[in-house]
Symmetry: C2
Subunit: 388 residues, 2 copies
């Protein structure tokens, strides 16, 4: 079986951007092509685009050909857009991986992009809510902040998790975002500032929530035989896992244990032949502070219910058990849905290539990426390994 | 490399359905599960959903988990929605194929579904137009009927193609739809009726255009080692090809030759080790009558410019060079975007299993499926072979 590597990376500045979807894609593409000067665009035979809400927010369906055109590509093998809400970006990487392993593609560009900020933010919020089943959870208002607030309340009730512990996740991730020039929120926040920020859905406050952000990210992927043509340090995708529970909140297996995350992690680590203890760093899906706390637990970094203590003890900082979300996470970088999963992979690659500022540099050999989508009914994981 | 087969099929009745997106999915799922009584749903490890405009027309993003729930599935490997406008359905089959070959999936359900008819058909039409680049072709009104009319006018100018020849495509496809109980338009039409139907965009009239249709289709796919568990007649996916030109009309290589179709066909036939002459039947993308005429030509069934004569001579009917669109095509069945590519594959499978009415039965060993999307800037082909 062909091994598949990420061999180039490109990012835009994330934020409230005065740029269209197409302009964001161009910007990420330019950054990617600058990173792989040996690439002849004619050799890119496939394109995979991860975008969640482009149909609604940019009034643009069928974005893949348009992305191809912006990047100056005319792929002759595979062209596809993947949509899985907040897992859209990692989905694009997964299908690129499968396509290359299966021999349908040799050299693939993967783009994740989202234009979230529009002239009508009420419309943006309504569109974000259409990720839920519109006949049930949607009309009942169970969109992301109230739903994750429900989880947080239950977690606090069952395990004694505190608002201070939630806040510490935001403090940590903003600390790391502070030196990330691509981040939407590149500045430190104190625990007091998080705790006193505007209430969104109790116990979640504004700084417990990831932002509404425009941004794009792009990677070049190929098989081992071609990887060294583009980089001295290919980063191999060694494990993939994804699992689904019910769709509606009422059909989830649990509020406070993410069983699909556990199953997906088991699958991904088994495929890579490693365990969570072999990871040198992780990018997890901190859409809300409570999410990252649950992720520590369901990834097996600590006992169930101890995630709050884990972050308070600095175990997810550099020097701790597993440095987590060193680019600043969704809390610090913002969350342009389709771009997030691709940008997480880029953080791992740039860490392995020592292309990040020294104060958040860890490097190492093994990295983990995790995304969840909707009401956390779908979880996807990817295990990356430094080659070269 | 693992060979991958379609081992079960399910369809809904297509038409203006008093049914939601979820209900259509359920109905196709039930038909599929009835077709594979040996299937234990717990063994379905992956789900791929092809839907183009569900975000806009059903106000429902992220449909894949919702489809899983409707079908009673909780996939533990891959879950993904693919969107490529009119190629969305075939895209879902392609990614299922790649996922199974790559070992990420063993047993996959693929669903194509679209709910097109809504209480506000002006909104439906606006949503369909957002398949085009909204900043250029979209605002200039180059949506599907005017654009394919432009092609037809140019084809008539260059090659002397006539309105009668265009009409004959519609006559043929309605002839075959007439005995297809799943078709939106299951009745014959005369050439005179096509020619005198309402003008849409000259030279295209109402009966030169495929309809706005609700419908769903589903298949079960697995690798060769498991195929016989579910069917005596697995149908193997032996060749895949896809190619892209520019996105904007101004960047297409030609109006009257579909170069991406030629490249994709070359790729798919090379992979399958056969040629167009080995095909026993074909499903091609007759979104408009002119499309099917161009497809004869660019698939190499006749010389460029001779497509009109080809259909007049009955060469695409049973007994001719290559029986084409025997289920009735998009013209006879209607065109629920994401469902079409899956339903085309189902026609080939049901032909090979002699599950179609005798008057359109051809059977044989090799079948071709072709889709195009947008302004024909992307073409995808799939070569199927009867096993068993």
């Amino acid at each position: 079986m062909r091994r598949v590597a990420i061999v180039g990376t490109g990012l835009t500045k994330w934020g409230v951007r005065n740029a269209t979807y197409k302009e964001l894609v161009q910007e990420a593409g330019k950054d990617l092509f600058d990173d792989v000067p040996n690439l002849d665009k004619k050799h890119v035979d496939s394109l995979f685009v991860g975008s969640a809400l482009v149909d609604r927010l940019a009034f643009q369906a069928y974005p893949a050909p348009l992305v191809a055109e912006q990047l100056g590509l005319t792929p002759s093998r595979m062209v596809m857009r993947t949509e899985m809400a907040c897992v859209s970006g990692q989905s694009a990487i997964r299908v690129a991986w499968a396509s290359i392993v299966a021999g349908l593609s040799d050299v693939a560009v993967v783009v994740g992009a989202e234009k979230m900020n529009t002239p009508n933010m009420a419309e943006t919020q309504a569109s974000m809510a259409c990720v839920l089943d519109r006949e049930w959870d949607g009309v009942n208002g169970l969109n992301a902040p109230p739903y994750f607030a429900l989880i947080a309340q239950r977690h606090m009730h069952e395990y004694g998790t505190t608002e201070e512990q939630l806040a510490e996740v935001s403090v940590k991730n903003h600390d790391y975002a502070a030196t990330n020039p691509y981040a939407h929120y590149p500045k430190r926040v104190s625990r007091e500032k998080v705790l006193s920020s505007a209430k969104i859905a109790p116990p979640l406050k504004l700084l417990d929530c990831s932002g509404i952000t425009d941004g794009a990210a792009a990677v070049l992927m190929t098989h081992e035989g071609l990887a060294k043509k583009y980089t001295d340090t290919p980063v191999f995708v060694e494990g993939l896992g994804q699992a689904q529970s019910g769709s509606l909140v009422v059909n989830l297996e649990s509020l406070t244990t993410w069983h699909p995350l556990r199953r997906a992690a088991q699958e991904a680590f088994k495929m890579a032949g490693v365990t969570i203890r072999d990871m040198d760093l992780a990018e997890t899906h901190d859409c809300f502070t409570i999410s990252e706390i649950m992720e520590y637990e369901d990834l097996g970094l600590c006992e169930k219910g101890q995630g709050g203590q884990f972050v308070m003890d600095g175990q997810s900082r550099i020097g701790g058990t597993l440095p987590t979300n060193l680019r600043g996470g969704l809390l610090g970088c913002g969350h342009p849905l389709g771009a997030t999963g691709v940008a997480q992979a880029i953080e791992i690659v740039r860490q392995f290539k020592a292309q990040v500022p020294e104060d958040r540099y860890v490097g190492g050999e093994w990295g983990l990426c995790h995304n969840l989508s909707g009401n956390a009914n779908n979880h996807a994981l990817m295990v990356l390994r430094r080659g070269g």
